[in-house]
Symmetry: C2
Subunit: 196 residues, 2 copies
């Protein structure tokens, strides 16, 4: 598209977004510059702001703008239960069932040796420290029922059992091979009740 | 995803990109913040820079960082020919054939009444002034062979004929290297009508 350096740079940067190829990037750049410069400005500001402000909760590892996230600060929650999930979206899914009132630990990923994602990248050292708070009695593993999610649950389970805590896994009410964020709420609620 | 305002704002802004739904926007935000903050920063800077610097060429309407684009400034080009196309990508396609040495006018869109895109949005007033430079002798309409592209070509053709200039359209025909039996009938019919 056209012979401008600023445009070529923008297309390259858009191509850096997950799932965006060169054709989509060109289409996005054209659309933004031709018809929607307000959106371009908003996106630039939102990116800058998010990168500056968003950090990880010191307690549960999820995204937050403060030291601790709102969930970890909520004193009405049951501090004897900790539910381990892969992403903030999974936490939202569980929250929407309205059946869980404990705390969370968000791995922000899953073990994936092929992609070079190891224990350190999903905060397992932080989790090990977290579960040793003396208040927790049960850790519920709610990673996805995919091959990588199961492997991640297995590794965490071994680690936590060594520390003498009860470890449970969401019941297999959740269809195998599916991702939590796309599962209907009733299924997730039943799987929580039937956890083993 | 998580309970942060900066994150919600970023997801909304990403959703403003063409072809990006809420799920993709969430995935992009997660990926950028969790694994790729350098890309987030680069994209923010590229957007800001592009919005500030990129304007329309005063002569041919395409994107440029100067008053006139490189093509319009190229004194070796044939100033008696003007090729009208929809987008900078179409111009690139024609340039790559190496068979055209005239100038261009880039509509940066096409007439599309259903989307509220009228003559003003594709710079027809600018084009009308452009073709009255006294040097041009022929205008080649190379809008796409879609319903909207054809309608756009028709409107421009009427406008330019009133100014006493020769107006031509890219020939419709059988693609080079193809076998007749595999070419759709509409294309063959047009190739027969446009035979030379
Ligand atoms: Zn937290
Ligand atoms: Zn130009």
């Amino acid at each position: 598209m056209a012979d401008t350096h600023a445009l070529a740079t923008l297309v390259q940067a858009l191509k850096g977004l997950p799932g965006v190829g060169i054709k989509s990037a060109q289409r996005m750049a054209f659309q933004l510059l031709q018809n929607d410069r307000a959106t371009a400005r908003q996106l630039a500001a939102a990116l800058q702001n998010a990168v500056e402000k968003i950090q990880h909760c010191e307690c549960c590892h999820t995204f937050t703008e403060a030291e601790l996230c709102d969930t970890c600060l909520d004193l009405t929650r049951d501090r004897t239960l900790l539910c381990v999930i892969e992403t903030p979206a999974d936490q939202s899914a569980i929250e929407r069932t309205g059946t869980y009132r404990g705390l969370y630990f968000v791995l922000m990923g899953k073990l994936s040796p092929l992609d070079g994602i190891g224990p350190h990248d999903i905060g397992l050292a932080k989790l090990k420290k977290r579960v040793a708070d003396g208040v927790l009695t049960e850790v519920i593993l709610a990673t996805n029922f995919t091959a990588e999610g199961e492997a991640t649950a297995h590794v965490i389970s071994e680690m936590i059992r060594q520390q003498g805590l009860k470890v449970t896994r969401l019941a297999r009410g959740v269809p195998a091979g599916s991702e939590l964020e796309y599962v209907d709420l009733g299924t997730i609620a039943h799987a929580l009740v039937d956890r083993r």
